[in-house]
């Protein structure tokens, strides 16, 4: 069981993100929300790439960030496998070198196994620019998993691939993450990503969390998926759903 406890306030120019979230959850958690609501910023804050103004981030019994104790671990110390939206594969390295970059020394067998699982063994000698969008996505996932992270963070992992490939990649991601047993947090604005990949979902409005729960539970609460859009529209116009802005939610 993994516990991720987040309660942060982060300011970025005029944008302010204020989130309280406590997850005791294995499997995949999705953060769903419209563009610009702060999903990626939250993911970056968890990885240590953004520094919140105040609050805390705790992973199991380890403090990653605490403004009161002036604790702020570097991204290197947090050991999160971060998959960037545009993959950020190192262009001068082969696919193999990319995957091995963060892997522990002597983890050749594990890397090979991962490559086989993600069906990229035939492109291991290629440079990333010689591979397709779907292959790059799998290479980025393999690289994030090869370091055996404590938490996997995926920023819009399917946004750069076409719709046909998306379904296949979702199943592959779901299967791989389940097999490795690493908890994952995935950011998306696509309801199908949530439905097909995630076990838990947090719905975000601008700079805040609106709802959190099991995917089935949240979906069952509405007759159709269109409920999400009024949710954050309402938040933006200040009319309804305000109750969860600073609430800490325990699953």
């Amino acid at each position: 069981m993994t516990t991720l406890d987040i309660d942060i306030r982060l300011d970025r120019g005029s944008f302010s993100l204020q989130i309280g979230l406590c997850m005791e959850t294995p499997g995949i958690t999705a953060l769903l929300g419209p563009s610009g609501c702060g999903k990626s910023t939250l993911l970056r804050a968890i990885a240590g790439l953004e520094h919140p103004r105040q609050g805390h981030i705790r992973m199991n019994d380890k403090v990653w960030f605490d403004s009161r104790c002036s604790v702020c671990l570097s991204p290197q110390q947090r050991r999160t496998g971060f998959m960037f939206q545009h993959y950020a594969l190192f262009p001068h390295m082969s696919v193999w070198d990319n995957i091995c970059f963060g892997a522990p020394n002597g983890a050749v067998d594990q890397v090979l196994e991962l490559a086989e699982k993600l069906q990229i063994t035939d492109i291991l000698d290629c440079r990333p620019d010689r591979t397709s969008g779907g292959q790059r996505q799998r290479v980025a996932l393999a690289r994030a998993l090869a370091m055996a992270p404590d938490l996997l963070l995926l920023d819009e992992p399917f946004s750069s691939v076409d719709a046909l490939l998306r379904g296949k990649l979702r199943r592959l991601l779901r299967c791989t993450v389940s097999e490795t047993g690493i908890p994952a947090l995935i950011v998306t604005h696509d309801l199908d990503d949530v439905r097909e990949v995630a076990d838990w979902v947090g719905v975000m409005g601008t700079g805040c969390l609106l709802r959190f729960g099991a995917v089935d539970e949240i979906f069952a609460a509405s007759r159709d998926a269109g409920i999400w859009y009024p949710l954050w529209d309402a938040e933006n116009h200040g009319s309804i759903v305000k109750q969860r802005t600073r609430s800490r939610q325990l699953v």
């Binding site: 240590g48 960037f84 950020a88």
Partner: protein, 215 residues
């Protein structure tokens, strides 16, 4: 002419060593949002692109000449005389070409390299490993292009070199100054010969650098 050719070669070799190190260092510093005096450094580096070279040379001559504060102090304490020496020629070449080295490298770092740096950090690598294993190799084409442009600019430099080097034949006369002197003397054949030689050398440097970039 042979001395001018050797001096220009010396300038090219020294710049080929200095530009990658200093150019990358300055560009990297400028790309860090929290770097102190960032604006000032950027202004200093960009200045030779917008300021007339002869005027820059004149101000440096005023600053570094033996009769002036900085130049006098250098001479008194270290016995080092910069103006009207090879050192002056090298400084002139360095100043004139540096912006052309820094700009492409800075542009390469700012367009996409930030995500590579962050990826390297999340994969557990420290700052130095990230710079040497990720950043420099991923922008090496821009570094080579910038250094080539800088060397080309420094070989063709006249204004600052004229002021700082003094245009002393057989001592601080570069190939570009040799062309200038030949035209002043009315020896257009010599000016044409040197121009073809300098142009050929520049094209050779450009070809080699392209080949290195593609490799």
């Amino acid at each position: 002419m042979p001395h001018a050719a050797w001096l220009s070669l010396e300038v090219a070799v020294v710049m080929a060593i200095l530009y990658p190190v200093v150019g990358f260092g300055v560009a990297y510093a400028l790309s860090r949002p929290g770097f102190p005096f960032r604006r000032l450094l950027e202004a200093i580096v960009t200045l030779p692109l917008v300021f007339p070279p002869v005027a820059i040379g004149f101000f440096l001559l005023m600053l570094l000449g033996r009769g002036n504060v900085l130049g006098a102090a250098l001479y008194r304490h270290v016995g080092f005389e910069l103006v009207f020496s090879v050192w002056g020629v090298l400084l002139a070449a360095f100043i004139s070409g540096l912006p052309l080295v820094v700009k492409p490298i800075l542009s390469a770092i700012e367009s996409g390299s930030e995500e590579l740096i962050e990826a390297s950090y999340t994969l557990g690598r420290g700052k130095w490993a990230t710079v040497f294993r990720v950043l420099i190799p991923s922008i090496r084409r821009s570094i080579i292009a910038g250094v080539t442009l800088g060397i080309g600019r420094s070989l063709g430099e006249v204004g600052i070199t004229l002021m700082l080097g003094g245009n002393i034949v057989g001592k601080t006369e570069t190939l570009s100054l040799a062309i200038y002197n030949s035209v002043l003397d009315g020896d257009f054949h010599r000016a044409a010969r040197i121009s073809f030689f300098l142009g050929g050398a520049s094209i050779a440097v450009f070809t080699v650098s392209r080949w290195m970039g593609e490799k």
